[in-house]
Amino acid sequence: MNLLQTSLGRLPLFNPVTVASGTFGTEYGSFYDLNRLGAYVSKTITNDPKAGNPCPRLFETEAGLLNSIGLQNPGIDLFIKEHLPLLREKLSIPIIVSFSGSSVSEFRRMLIQLDNCVGISAYEVNISCPNVENEGIAFGVDAGIVSELVKTLRAETERELIIKLSPNVTDIASIAKSAEESGADSLALINTVFGMAIDPKTGKSRIKRGIAGYSGPAIKPIALANVYKVAQAVQIPILAMGGISTWQDALEFFYAGASAIAVGTASFYDPLAPIRCLEGLETYLKDTDIPLCDLIGSISF
């Protein structure tokens, strides 16, 4: 029996360890076999190519990372033409494509274009990037728009539809519910938290653009609170991320209600982080002889 078996709605996963969009690439294939992962999640693509934000784009704080990449990406056409075939060639695990648009109709057009491509197992709809003005984020904070967007996308695809949510909202549960009611198969959370840092010696923002996205160990308690809140509000599965570095971190998220997890910033601290998570979980479940699905949402107080 595969104790690690899990699923994100219509997408079964051989194990629950995936990677967070924008923090991963096939480059990590130099260090281990990427096909050991539960799924591969691509960096968010947009319709047009995006140069991204000016530098500095990164700053490491006391217990986390600020980034302001600004969704730099080659655009959907080049992604489909060059990147996707490469991914298909290298990977036998499910490929989850993350994308973002600047209007409901652009999201829809992108989905249709992607739906014509073979080798995509799921979409992660990024409506929560804090580092761009016109893409995504405005969608993620309004339950009404989320509902319209998800309904529109649902009508166009049979594939797994994952909606990636922002923690930078008053009431994430209501947004999660509206995504669920509109036909989302599962939810991914959290995207980065708004954060900032200033050089006290000069008064200069550490990040050129000012406010950035905050990730890493520091946001784990925030991610956990959001996952728990959403798990209490919806029935659909949750793909959790936010500061997960170890298998013990992952366990916390399963108890809070996640069905799968993604390793993000931790890969920068430890290129083997996803594999160490996976191996740790495997050993733990074997030792205790509990299937993962029995742990999901079983938090006590």
Binding site: G25, Y28, S30, G52, N67, D270
Partner: protein, 256 residues
């Protein structure tokens, strides 16, 4: 990049204090040593058994390769680099190496090396791999005496070693009566920018090794970019994977 990078735990074979700010680390690894080219760098961080240190790796240029030994020359600046300069023989580090592209080998007969501060190490490695018949003039600048290491002409801001002033002054003087087929440089952005303008005027090819704040070091995060291309058609390329070495004419300095 010729090879895939290797991720590995390595032992510090020796750690030599060069002066109050700089230390030299030596790591022995035949496989990595065999793959290193001038311009390449490593990502390195201290390892403590039992727990993963949740801090970013630090990018450090390869200073020297001698048989199986890799040498790194590190200046203690902030938290990460300070920890590295305090390592002792026998301590373990996590290493991802080699990373990045390398300097194009010069085709002409006479070149200049221009380094500022911690821009020194990659040029030393480059110099060690040059053909013996190439004439080299090395200009090195720093804030003060402790930033100065062996070179042909040293400059310091405070005048505590070499000539007082900016390293570019020396280069300008020298160029007046010396032919120069190419310049190789590494150092602070201001230096590289000034050099780029200078080389543009003199029409000398300039290859610079860029610095950038890095997260992954392997090309996945797009955090370490510089604008590369023409005025009309440029894109942010990654210092860690597309660089660190770029032809200065391709860099859109006005956007930095």
């Amino acid at each position: 990049m010729a090879y895939d990078p290797i991720y590995r735990l390595c032992r510090i074979h020796s750690c030599t204090v060069l002066n109050e700010s700089y230390s030299m680390l030596e790591i022995i690894d035949d496989e990595i040593a065999g793959r290193c080219e001038p311009g390449n760098f490593v990502e390195i961080k201290p390892y403590k058994a039992g727990s993963v240190l949740k801090r970013l790796f630090k990018p450090i240029s390869i200073y020297k390769v001698e048989s199986d030994s890799i040498f790194l020359m590190i200046k203690a600046l902030g938290r990460g680099s300070k920890e590295l300069t305090k390592l002792n023989e026998g301590d373990m580090v996590e290493l991802i190496a080699p990373l990045g592209n390398s300097f194009p080998m010069p085709t002409g007969k006479s070149i200049a090396l221009v380094s500022g501060g911690i821009g020194y190490p990659p040029l030393w490695f480059l110099k060690s791999r040059l053909n013996a018949d190439i004439k080299v003039r090395w200009f090195h600048g720093g804030a003060c005496e402790k930033d100065i290491f062996p070179c042909d002409e040293a400059w310091t801001i405070d005048g505590s070693a070499g000539t007082k002033g900016l390293v570019t002054q020396g280069l300008v003087e020298w160029l007046k009566d010396h032919p120069c087929d190419a310049i190789y440089s590494c150092g602070p952005e201001a230096l590289l920018k000034a050099l780029a303008a200078l080389c543009d005027t003199h029409n000398i090819p300039l290859y610079v090794s860029m610095e950038a704040y890095m997260a992954c070091g392997v090309g996945v995060c797009h955090g370490c970019t510089v604008p590369i291309g023409t005025k009309e058609n440029w894109n942010y390329l990654r210092v860690c994977k597309d660089g660190p070495v770029f032809d200065a004419r391709d860099i859109r300095w006005e956007l930095i």
